[in-house]
């Protein structure tokens, strides 16, 4: 099997990885880096459990060839919190609003909400639903997820930080 060595930035650190041509981003993040926050569930772009950011844009890791990560900046849920363990305001809002039960979908939702708030710091309900329409929560925590998104938006605005 052709193995290629690629270099990219993962959660702010320059890294290299060996990838095989058929591997997707999730395969690579789990096998080469032991990161399990983004996970492959539907494998078809529909559920959002595999959401990661490539060059600042949310993508479905399950549909993205790992090989194409060469030279990009990849951010995952593991990179959100501070080194001292403080959580990102979006993560904290999900906890405070009770926006999950089993938590399987949560990393994907949090990464989508990060994208949403970067694009629109004060989103309407419609905009929230629109951005999150590609994320599924089988525990159906949707009302709490919308509430968490608004809570995060308010806190970020109050703190004046991204």
């Amino acid at each position: 099997m052709t193995t290629r060595h690629i270099s990219f930035t993962l959660n702010g650190r320059a890294v290299t990885a060996s990838v095989q041509p058929h591997e997707n981003l999730i395969d690579m993040l789990t096998t080469a880096f032991g990161l399990r926050g983004a996970r492959e569930s539907c494998g078809q772009g529909l559920c959002g459990c595999c959401t990661v950011h490539v060059d600042g844009q949310a993508v479905s890791g399950c549909l993205f060839l790992a090989d194409m990560a060469e030279g990009t900046r990849i951010d995952t849920i593991e990179g959100l919190g501070g080194a001292d363990g403080t959580l990102d305001p979006v993560q904290q809002a999900f906890i405070d609003a009770g926006a999950f039960q089993c938590g399987f979908c949560t990393p994907g939702f949090v990464m989508m909400v990060k994208t949403l708030l970067a694009d629109d710091p004060d989103p309407s309900d419609d905009t929230i639903r629109h951005y999150l329409s590609g994320n599924l929560c089988r525990c159906s925590a949707y009302p709490e997820i919308v509430a968490a998104t608004k809570l995060a938006a308010r806190r970020i605005a109050a703190e004046g930080r991204p």
Partner: protein
Amino acid sequence: MADFTIEYPGTLAEALSFLDPDDPSVRPVGGGTALMLMMKSQMFHPTRLVCLSRLSEPMTGCREDGDHIRIGAMTTLSQVEHSALIAAEFPVIHNAMKNLANVRVRNVATIGGNLAHGDPHLDLPPIWAALGAEAIIHGPSGQRSVKVEDLFQGYYETDVADGELITEIRVPRLPGWRATYRKVTTRALHDWPAIGLTLAARFDGDRIADIRLVLSAAVDIPQRLRGAEEVLRGHRPDAMLLARAGDSAAAEAPMEHDSRGSVDYKVHLLKVHILRGMNEIGKG
């Protein structure tokens, strides 16, 4: 999964040299969203993928070119969605994006891949066809252009040969035209539509001066409904006329029964949406 290689050409000429007119297992990659699904489901086993992500203009971006707008094949659906130029010139394209897949897919999927995939359920190809757009295609023997309306030859079959690339879409500016795309799905957005109907028309007072109707999803390829257009062209779209256009459309469209509905159901949808679509664009 059998082994394959992935190439990243830096120029169009290099990209063409990596393709192979005689080998369908060598394919270009736009965003890869459709290809990945075909590879995962074992429908497609590549020997070589030619990734177009390092190509620049004219393969990327939206720009004005006299009385046309040109969109590079590698422009992502999100870039088109957020382009002020596209929103101003072709609101029907801008509006369709909101209900197309989801933010993550739009961030990656490309205009060229969307067109070359040849899936009749997709939302943009029928709209490009109704707008009179053409695909610019480069291959070993140079450049040619094909009207999007004539690009599709069958279910997942297009006029783009192995060894060729779509480089741009060229869309005429249509001053005075109004258009709408009506996507009828059973509920969830990821559901393929039972029918897609694009209506584009130019009015002269309350008469339809010119019109193009394109049916998609319920047929093998996006299809002009020329009989129904003929019924409508030059007339005032009252209820009687729209009903006649609906009958004509139903007679000329070879719709098929599938999991998204019976032929009767789709005929009904087609008639209803000709009526609603004309009411929508007739109001201006």
